[in-house]
Amino acid sequence: MSGTTETRARLGGARALAGLLLPGTAQIVRGQWAAGLASVTLWVALITTAVWRRGRLIDAWTAGWDQRLAAAGLLAGLAAVWMWGWWSARREASARAGTGRLHQMARALAADPTALAGIWVVGAICLVALLAPLISPFDPNVQGSLVAERFLPPSRAHLLGTDNLARDVFSRLLYGARVSLTIGLLAVAVSVTIGTLVGAVAGYLGGWVDAVVMRIVDTFLAFPRLVLLITIVALFDPGTLLVVAVLGLTLWPSTARLVRAEVLALRRRDFILAAEALGFSRRRVVFGHLVPNALGPIIVAATLGIGDTIVLEAGLSFLGLGVQAPTASWGSMVDAGRANLLGAWWIATFPGLAIVGTVLAFNLVGDGLRDALDPRFRA
């Protein structure tokens, strides 16, 4: 008896030590593959970057905000992974079986290989976006010699070639991820917040409030969103903030409609009637009961919305109405490749592939979430 206890203690110690050196190993040993592998991969990626780009990591503090943010992000990431690994390894595995609807969704997601693949790709793109200043081989905006370095095909020096202004396409691609992700996430956050508020209030109050709000929503939905976007952006001065605001302020109607439908369906359910019968305030019923129960569909719509928004942002940039030069954005990079499509195909091709890959990954995650919510149509 005491022998096994001792062995187990020693094993626990070894596991903890491994966890300190390589966070995630303890979880893998225990059978928590998804979390463990993610943790190990992230740790290795961050450490490799830090060692490989140690010069830049040190110089970053005296360079611009981009570099400083990336360096801080890398260190914070390392610290977070390490602390998580240590903390999680000490807990009992059984202590973490949640029963809520969101927990169930998460568990169904973890059992879905295509959704998991999507999550890994999204994670990788986020990492690349964060670390772009540290890992990019060239400065994305510095032009090379227009005589000697323009339109260079992909090579060892320039992995994806150079563009019409002799800039490194690969480096610009890495920086472009920042634009797409930032705008996509921010705009969706704005629109989901507005849409949830409006939809929940309209659905709960009903009556003329609902009628007026839904008329507005219908108007927005009938209007081709891109036409509205380019009209607005063309009237104002294009810029990142404007793009976020405009994308966010034009996407909310579909969320509002979704949330309203959910709220209308939930309203008639017993637990809402019970909450009302107990004399809960309206605000408490809406935001304490209705919205949390509609959270699943909202998350699904938001995830799929990120993909749509990234495509729209790229489209605006393609038309020259998005993020302004010289900041690299995937849409404007594709535009830059139009002029010499046959001679320098790599300029337009690779940013487009980046868009497809990113959007595909978000859609895989969104599909996975939807199936987790409603498993009938599982592929």
Binding site: A222, P224, F236, F318, R338, A348, F377, A379
Partner: protein, 336 residues
């Protein structure tokens, strides 16, 4: 229980058309406030440096920029209602004329793309549902998701690169497609058959780019709708009375699964027109999308707004058509 004479359909249609009026009003309002909320004097946007004083004066009066906002709003509604969308600066013609000359090309392109994408999308979705949980299903799922995730402008460029430029100059394929315009330079000299062929060849790449992107979404929806239908009791009934599997799928399941797809038709028009804007711009297709993009680059705001309004009107009309079609394909819709 009552019988449903088709005469009710026209009354239903009329009511739906009247119901669309507030929508058009709302869209006009939205456009008006977008323009008037822009910072600074709208006139500074409406006037470009090279303009004569006479033109400037005409613009000022046509927009009534000296009036207070509510008055301007009513005037704008009035002029829209009477079909007057103002004067295009960049083309020196009334906006209505510019749009009228661009509309047919857009309707041709988007119509072909709409029909193609719905046909192919539905067939793929139905096939996936019939082969649910097989390799065919998952392969097609990835394929449709791939196109669904693709920006139409990039697909258009890639189509152009491969099937026009590379096919003609690099690889010397026997068939390649023209990369720009709606007809060739020698169009007038061609025979009637040659003209048709020329038009067709010019249509291939733009229509393919547009419909492939839409097809992805439609196939995904059709698959879901079909799977939902196949689970229903009446499918089991059809099998129980000995209907062959193929007829179960096509005569019973597909017919029912198509009903929600009609609604999707209305929802897809905005997406279709967004795609049209890019694809027309890339393939130099002389339609509304290209006109609007040109107007933005020229800062020709009356034309931008007019184009926006027309696109919105097309969406509203499309939704009306979808509504009526829905009433036609689903006997359960009651016309009241």
């Amino acid at each position: 229980m009552q019988s449903l004479p088709r005469g009710h359909l026209s009354r239903y249609a009329l009511r739906r058309i009247l119901g669309a009026v507030p929508l058009v009003l709302g869209i006009s309002t939205l456009l008006f406030f977008v323009v008037n909320l822009a910072p600074g004097d709208p006139a500074s946007y409406l006037i470009s440096p090279g303009m004569s004083a006479e033109v400037v004066e005409r613009i000022r009066t046509s927009f009534g920029l000296d009036d207070p906002v509510p008055v301007r709003y009513l005037k704008w509604l009035g002029s829209v209602a009477s079909g007057d969308l103002g004067q295009s600066f960049s083309q020196g013609r009334p906006v209505v004329d510019v749009l009228a000359s661009a509309l047919p090309a857009t309707l041709l392109l988007s119509g072909v793309a709409l029909v193609l994408s719905f046909m192919i999308g539905t067939v793929i979705g139905a096939l996936q549902a019939a082969r649910h949980r097989t390799a065919v299903d998952s392969t097609l799922s990835f394929f449709t998701l791939f196109f669904y995730s693709m920006p139409s402008f990039w697909l258009a460029l890639m189509m152009m690169l491969v099937f026009s430029y590379a096919a003609s100059t690099l690889w010397g394929w026997p068939i390649w497609f023209p990369a720009s315009g709606i007809q060739g330079a020698d169009y007038e000299a061609l025979s009637a058959l040659g003209k048709l062929r020329d038009r067709g060849m010019h249509l291939v790449l733009p229509a393919a780019s547009l419909s492939l992107v839409m097809m992805g979404g439609i196939a995904r929806f059709a698959r879901g709708s079909m799977l939902e239908t196949i689970r229903q009791d009446f499918i089991r009934t059809a099998r129980a009375k000995g209907v062959p599997e193929r007829a179960v799928l096509f005569r019973h399941a597909l017919r029912n699964a198509l009903i929600p797809l009609v609604t999707l038709l209305g929802l897809y028009l905005p997406i279709l027109f967004a795609g049209t804007i890019f694809v027309e711009e890339i393939f130099a297709w002389p339609g509304m999308g290209r006109t609007v993009v040109g107007a933005i680059q020229a800062r020709d705001y009356p034309l931008v707004m007019g184009g926006g309004l027309l696109f919105a009107a097309l969406v509203v009309i499309g939704n009306l058509v979808a509504d009526l079609l829905y009433a036609f394909v689903d006997p359960r819709v009651r016309y009241d």
